[in-house]
């Protein structure tokens, strides 16, 4: 009888464990990043309480000048090491908040880690980036707004067919090659594309030949539009962008 009771208890407890313990509980605890995440409302509050809080845009100068969180400064993540130490080392205890364009963007996190390495003690990352700032209802300000124009987007399927047909066009990959923004390996590019990171576009756009159709490619399709508008402003007529960026491209190529 005791045997049976033990068996019963074992069967019941195994069942209970199966039901109650969901894999979530067993999920590995994520590593502590060392910096803190802050949401948009708390950032606004923090700026009221501590007006010396430094808010740093980690995107390109083009994006920063187009629209930014009011009062923020810009340290593009690829030149972080050059520029940041001067600004940050003045007061290592000053609260510093990094942000980039959206929750998908790794730049602010990278910058925050580098700030910690410099010795900053109060390092934050704005959760959800400037996108979350807007969602929370806060406004942005513009220094040099790039006028928006109609930019045709091309789906991966179409772009692939153009490449296969050997259409004469220039594919510009604006993703940063710096490790701070999801490092792009050479194999990760569309064959024949030219790399001009968004951070350098305002200085290097002259390298792009005029008179040919241009396709702008980015990470997930959020940044190519602004880059395309910038090129249109600079006189390039036929500028298109890859819909969904390289993420959509890979999804298409892998048949997802």
């Amino acid at each position: 009888m005791r045997k049976l009771s033990i068996l019963l208890i074992t069967v019941l407890s195994v069942f209970a464990v199966l039901v109650i313990v969901s894999p979530d509980l067993l999920a590995k605890q994520s590593e502590k990043p060392g910096f803190k995440y802050i949401n948009a409302k708390d950032l606004e509050l923090m700026r009221e309480l501590k007006p010396y809080t430094l808010v740093i845009n980690t995107m390109s100068m083009l994006e920063y000048q187009d629209h930014r969180i009011p009062g923020s400064i810009c340290i593009p993540c690829d030149v972080f090491d050059k520029k940041a130490s001067k600004i940050l080392k003045k007061d290592l205890n000053r609260p510093v908040v990094f942000y980039c364009e959206s929750e998908w963007c790794p730049k602010a996190r990278h910058a925050a880690k580098r700030a910690l390495a410099l010795g900053c003690t109060n390092v934050y990352v704005l959760k959800g980036g400037i996108h979350a700032w807007k969602v929370a209802g806060f406004t942005t300000e513009s220094i040099n707004r790039i006028p928006r124009v109609g930019i045709h987007s091309v789906k991966p399927k179409i772009l692939k067919s153009w490449i296969d047909k050997g259409l004469d066009m220039v594919i510009i990959d604006i993703r940063s090659t710096d490790p701070c923004s999801a490092y792009v390996s050479k194999n990760d590019r569309i064959k024949g594309s030219i790399s001009i990171p968004m951070e350098e576009l305002d200085k290097r756009y002259n390298e792009i030949p005029k008179g040919k159709p241009i396709i702008i490619v980015d990470e997930i399709g959020y940044r190519s539009f602004l880059a395309a508008c910038f090129l249109r402003l600079k006189g390039y007529k036929d500028v298109k962008r890859l819909f969904g960026g390289m993420a959509a491209w890979h999804a298409f190529i892998e048949g997802r």
């Binding site: 009888m1 005791r2 045997k3 049976l4 009771s5 068996l7 019963l8 208890i9 069967v11 019941l12 069942f15 199966l18 969901s22 894999p23 979530d24 187009d66 629209h67 364009e101 959206s102 998908w104 996108h131 807007k134 969602v135 209802g137 942005t140 300000e141 513009s142 707004r145 928006r148 109609g150 930019i151 045709h152 987007s153 091309v154 997930i220 959020y222 539009f225 602004l226 819909f243 969904g244 993420a247 959509a248 999804a251 048949g255 997802r256």
Partner: protein, 628 residues
């Protein structure tokens, strides 16, 4: 005097003139003059383009003037503006268009691309009240960036361009000023995107009047929701099943007979292959939203559905009547005995009847417990799909952690049930052919220890009904009564229907090498109907026959302790008692009284299962009534 008065008149006129030329243009609340605010006259001195001088005064915003939108210009220091020292602020249309602005603040174009109102409404200074086709205007506007050739060629796009008022334009699906990012991002937000697409498509396609106008049926949505894809979709993903756009695509929506349509038979292989890798081509005959009542298009599905319906009706009609009559008889009998003070013999101290005897071996007990656990698991994970639109189904699916996880548990429990079934089948064969001995198997099959029905069972059934109506004695049962045999054999039937259909549905890609696609429709329907039959039969008929009958109420713990008393054997299975007595086997089955721990466990586990089962039966019956 006269000259003085002239002078003073001239002075007044000069002051007035100065007032008009200097002050009037900058007054805070200017007067309207022919649709143009007078402040404009000063703005227009510099901003003299045709747009501002001719178009704007005739536009809908003419009465607002310039500075109500272009704020941040100090009218008292116009030179600061002219020299570029101060710049006007960004125009905020939301000051007036508050409702739209509130919506637009969450729009993808604003959040991710910082599109302002005037980035789309570029002709802001020329806007007039439009009397044209709004839907076409939207297409013209959106396609400036979104070159969706597929949409324009699709059934929807064509219809809009032909002036159809029902067909959706871009904003009908994506929203006008509340475009969400996941609308276009299946790979980034697979769950939300699917929810959105389904909701959007169903909004029109379940509208009976609208569908009727275009020769379509609104029932398609209902039919889809009754398939596996629809059930999981309705419960909320994240189990990735085909929503509307996964098969029909989001923009290239064309009728099946169009060779460019994703649901054209020639393209279905690819369309289904997006989710189902390595399947046999015959799977494409699967119907994604079949009408079970359409016997011309889906004859096998129709007849299998009808057969299952009749089986359910017949089984429950018979057994529920049987149960009701049985309960009446025993309850009345018990009442009579209580009235005259007859106490069951087993309650009398020291009687021989208290001798515990063994009915089930520990293997059978474990088998039954495993069966209870696996059965509850399949019921609790499967029925939320069957009744996906009920609120309790959603609660239950959340409890399991989503349809995907519930599906995994359902499959595991299903495999456990298969193992139990095979174990029982092997035991049955061993019983019939002990040590490979075939001689006398028929005798064993129809013998008293067999669970196979024999002639006596038919007689017992007849006598039982006589007894229900006080027309005879209660039949004397042997080791297994006819309802216990039915319970046992029903499992064989049930497993062959629910188990095989379950296996077929578990991995449709593999099944497609044996069965055509339409068989999955039939399999799902039979799986669901048989599930209702099995669950309701166990939770009502089996529960009553073995536990809730007044003699045993609230439960019979013999299946958990394996033992009952000699007195119970005599009372419930007199024929077996007589047989064992004659064969001298009573001593063999005598046992010890069960321990307090096993009694406690039996009560706790048994009663919990009973209560849970009855509760579930209630939910199932309620859901059936709601769906009638």
């Amino acid at each position: 005097m006269k000259s003085r008065s002239r002078l003073s008149n001239a002075g007044i006129l000069t002051i007035l003139g100065l007032f008009i030329t200097c002050f009037f243009p900058f007054t805070a609340y200017p007067q309207e003059t022919s649709g143009v605010k007078c402040e404009e006259s000063s703005c227009l001195q510099c901003h003299a383009d045709h747009v501002f001088t001719k178009d704007f005064p005739n536009s809908v915003h003419a009465a607002n003037g310039c500075t109500s939108c272009h704020t941040g210009i100090d009218l008292n220091n116009i030179y600061a503006h002219m020299s570029g020292e101060t710049k006007p602020k960004l125009v905020s249309c939301g000051k007036c268009h508050k409702e739209i602005w509130e919506k637009y603040k969450k729009d993808y174009h604003y959040l991710y691309q910082d599109f302002r109102c005037y980035d789309c409404h570029r002709n802001i200074h020329q806007i007039k009240k439009q009397n044209g086709n709004f839907k076409i205007a939207v297409i013209t506007q959106c396609t400036q960036c979104h070159t969706n050739d597929e949409y324009v060629k699709s059934g929807h796009g064509k219809a809009v361009l032909e002036g159809n008022k029902d067909a959706p334009t871009c904003t009908d699906c994506h929203g006008l000023h509340n475009v969400k990012v996941y609308h276009t991002s299946e790979f980034k937000h697979p769950e939300e995107a699917r929810h959105f697409y389904d909701r959007t498509c169903m909004r029109c396609h379940s509208n009976e009047e609208m569908m009727k106008r275009h020769g379509l049926t609104a029932k398609t949505v209902e039919f889809y929701l009754d398939t596996y894809h629809g059930q999981v979709a309705d419960l909320g993903y994240p189990s990735l099943v085909a929503g509307c756009v996964d098969c029909h695509t989001s923009h290239n929506i064309l009728p099946p007979n169009d060779p460019h349509s994703s649901v054209n038979p020639a393209n279905l292989v690819k369309t289904c292959g997006k989710c189902h890798p390595k399947y046999n081509i015959r799977m494409i005959s699967y119907q994604s939203h079949p009408d079970v009542n359409d016997h011309t298009r889906f004859p096998i599905l129709y007849w299998s559905h009808k057969f299952m319906g009749l089986l359910l009706l017949g089984t429950f009609l018979f057994f529920w009547v049987h149960t009701l009559l049985w309960w009446r008889k025993t309850y009345w009998e018990k009442h009579e005995k209580e009235k005259i003070g007859i106490v069951p013999k087993r309650l009398i101290k020291g009687s021989e009847g208290l001798q515990p005897i063994r009915r089930f071996t520990w293997k059978e007990i474990i088998l039954h417990i495993a069966l209870i656990l696996s059965f509850f698991t399949v019921v609790l994970t499967g029925f939320p799909l069957k009744f996906h639109d009920m609120e309790w189904a959603k609660v239950l699916i959340r409890f399991w952690g989503g349809a995907h996880r519930a599906g995994i548990y359902h499959r595991i429990a299903g495999i456990v049930m298969w193992i139990e079934f095979l174990y029982v089948a092997i035991r049955s064969l061993r019983f019939l052919f002990p040590k490979g001995q075939t001689k006398g198997w028929l005798k064993r099959l129809f013998g008293p220890d067999s669970l196979f029905p024999n002639l006596k069972d038919l007689q017992d059934l007849r006598d039982m009904f006589k007894w229900f109506f006080n027309k005879g004695e209660e039949p004397k049962f042997d080791r297994w009564s006819y309802w216990e045999k039915f319970d046992f054999l029903a499992v064989f039937w049930g497993m062959s229907v629910i188990g095989i259909t379950g296996l077929v549905l578990m991995k449709p890609e593999w099944s497609s090498y044996i069965l055509p696609g339409w068989a999955f429709d039939v399999a799902l329907d039979m799986h669901g109907e048989e599930a209702i039959l099995a669950a309701l039969f166990i939770f009502t008929v089996h529960f009553f026959n073995t536990h809730l009958i007044p003699k045993k109420f609230p439960m019979d713990r013999v299946i958990f302790t394996g033992r009952y008393t000699l007195e119970e054997l005599k009372e419930l299975r007199p024929k077996e008692y007589e047989r064992l007595l004659a064969e001298g086997k009573i001593e063999e089955i005598k046992s010890k009284h069960p321990s307090i721990l096993s009694k406690l466990l039996a009560a706790a586990f048994g009663l919990t299962s009973l209560l849970l089962g009855i509760f579930l039966a209630g939910l199932i019956i309620w859901s059936i009534i709601v769906h009638m």
